[in-house]
């Protein structure tokens, strides 16, 4: 009973509805067994066809909305990062995974009333967003920038350890000029001041002025998908606030867990420009939602710059063991340590040496001295012997 013969007999039986006469008894029995398995699948066909028919109209409407949203027209803007995502990916050293959160602009007193009251950008948040330097926006000493963003104007302070990059190239801070569009990551201070951890020149498309309403999304609503335009990480590292802009230019603000942030990072789309879909986060606290990276995001994008295991900690300086060898990572005052479920509690995190032995994922920039300045560090499970250094944060 050769396999080639069974292949032929089976195919002819399935096509013709009867077993060919030249089949032996043994071959006949074998073909009957295989046909029974095929029939088990075919038995579901009618129901699946019904389902497909039933969902056709809804799905078609969804696809038509998708086509309409992608249609360029005079007054409409494409999602800001749809074309820029690749450029951001090429930046390499850009700290992603944290994007500026939409503020309660009334609380900060500097934003227009066109924006809905939503969550605040709280002092102490680590945020990242994109902005354009207007004319006259660079101070005489080059250490302060006024930056117009779609969330309002921020005064950005360049510190001694602020990384200024263009792609993977380090720049002199003074090289930023009016008209430059930059991605800023840093710590929010009072009155729209921000201490920059990193500044990255982007592709130069001017950032639109404030005006889009942002709606706070407390409960899950299906079908919300868009580009991440902001994430803010509070100091405790347990949750994040995310702003998404849809193709219909609606903006939604939602709260996600640290585990969701970690998943975004691990999926290679942890930050600005990631295309995500809002999902219900089963088991999360009320009001906390989840995000799935949509396949429409450009892939692969490594949102994680370094992944490895912490071998030692000397104050803010960590030595990591990675697949590419040892790396020195510096935690700065602005560095946000994200604590997904199963990693560490905030109290544990603050103990000296708490990170040693844990798997971590770090986003940040390489500094001129070869060390890696961390903007965001995501803590994973404890590393066990035999685990891969580049394995999932939660462990195998």
């Amino acid at each position: 009973m050769s396999s080639k013969r069974i292949d032929r007999l089976l195919a002819e039986t399935l096509d013709g509805g009867r077993i060919p006469d030249d089949a032996t008894l043994e071959e006949r029995n074998e073909v009957l067994r295989l046909v029974a398995a095929a029939q088990a699948i075919q038995a579901t066909r009618a129901t699946v066809t019904l389902e497909a028919d039933r969902t056709f109209a809804t799905s078609r409407a969804r696809f038509e909305r998708h086509l309409a949203g992608a249609r360029p027209s005079a007054g409409a803007r494409r999602p800001r990062f749809s074309g820029r995502f690749g450029a951001l990916a090429a930046c390499g050293s850009l700290a992603t995974a944290v994007v500026a959160v939409l503020a309660v602009l009334f609380g900060l007193g500097l934003f227009t009333s066109d924006v809905d009251t939503a969550n605040a950008i709280e002092v102490g948040d680590f945020v990242q967003f994109e902005g354009t330097i207007p004319e006259g926006g660079v101070s005489a000493d080059g250490k302060t920038l006024d930056v117009e963003t779609s969330f309002g104007r921020f005064s950005v302070e360049i510190l001694h350890d602020t990384s200024v990059v263009d792609g993977t190239d380090l720049l002199e801070p003074g090289s930023l000029r009016p008209g430059d569009t930059i991605v800023i990551a840093g710590l929010v201070g009072e009155r729209n001041r921000l201490q920059a951890a990193s500044l990255s020149r982007s592709d130069g498309t001017p950032v639109p002025p404030p005006g889009l309403r942002i709606r706070a999304l407390g409960d899950f609503l299906p079908g919300i998908e868009g580009v991440v335009v902001a994430v803010a990480l509070p100091k405790d590292g347990l949750q994040a606030r995310v702003v998404i802009e849809t193709t219909a230019h609606e903006r939604f603000l939602l709260v996600v867990s640290a585990s969701t942030v970690a998943e975004l990072v691990e999926a290679g789309a942890g930050g600005l420009g990631a295309v995500v879909r809002v999902v219900d986060d089963a088991g999360a606290d009320p009001g906390v939602l989840g995000l799935d990276v949509s396949a429409t995001s450009e892939r692969p994008l490594r949102g994680v710059n370094i992944a490895g295991v912490v071998l030692s900690a000397d104050g803010p300086v960590l030595e990591l063991s990675t697949l590419r060898g040892s790396r020195t990572v510096v935690l700065r005052e602005s560095t946000r340590i994200v604590l997904p479920e199963g990693s560490l509690s905030p109290a544990e995190r603050d103990r000296p040496g708490a990170l040693v032995g844990h798997r971590v994922a770090v986003q940040g920039q390489s500094a001129a001295d070869g060390r890696f300045h961390a903007d965001v560090l995501i803590v994973g499970a404890e590393h066990r012997p035999g685990d891969r250094l580049d394995g999932p944060l939660r462990g195998p």
Binding site: I6, L10, A11, A38, Q39, T47, S59, D292
Partner: protein, 194 residues
């Protein structure tokens, strides 16, 4: 899909020219072309995705995503005799794989309630059987799952399946035999007789 035995060579050439024209327009993001593609292929894509998932709602969502992804990557579609359906099925495979991986990472269980139960006269048994079948299918390799979905759920001929999977017809026959044998073993392990 074209059927050489029915149309003859001239007919095949006409169908292929039409398909090529549609593909060209799709690459150019012609909305009418994409509407035609959606009309022609949504049900097949839905069936393909559905065979791997327990829930109808998530199948609907993923099936919709296939076309959204395809549209976003329209500029990358290289039509050189590759059927549009093959391209869509490839996207569907990746989406389902990613979806199941995420579910596994979260440790979450899929919703096992079949939301379409109201249509069926004996919903409980049908849903239970489908779940067992879906679970058994997941034991198979991706190629095995694909050939079974194309052949027995989407009712594609061996020739069409070979075009979509970019294999010879003999290879498809061989694959379907091995896939059915694996499926039968998997179902027997579950204590389910197909």
């Amino acid at each position: 899909m074209s059927e050489p035995g029915v149309l003859g060579h001239a007919g095949v050439a006409t169908v292929q020219a039409t398909a090529e024209e549609l593909a060209r327009r799709a690459v150019a993001r012609d909305e009418d072309a994409w509407s035609a593609i959606f009309e022609a292929h949504y049900r097949g894509v839905y069936a393909f995705v559905r065979s791997r998932l327990h829930g109808a709602a998530e199948a609907e969502d993923l099936a919709s995503q296939v076309f959204e992804v395809a549209f976003s990557r329209a500029h990358r579609f290289d039509y050189r005799g590759l059927p549009i359906e093959a391209w869509l099925i490839g996207i569907a495979r990746n989406l389902v794989r990613d979806h199941l991986k995420k579910l596994g990472r979260r440790g979450s269980t899929e919703e096992l309630t079949d939301t379409m139960g109201a249509f069926e006269s004996d919903a409980t048994d049908i849903v239970a059987n489908r779940h067992q079948l879906t679970a058994a299918m997941r034991v198979l390799t991706e190629d095995q799952q694909t050939v079974l979905s194309l052949r027995f759920l989407m009712d594609r001929s061996v020739a069409d399946t070979a075009r979509v999977m970019r294999r010879s017809e003999d290879a498809v026959k061989n694959l379907q035999r091995r896939a059915l044998a694996s499926l039968k073993r998997a179902m027997e392990k579950q204590g389910v007789a197909p």
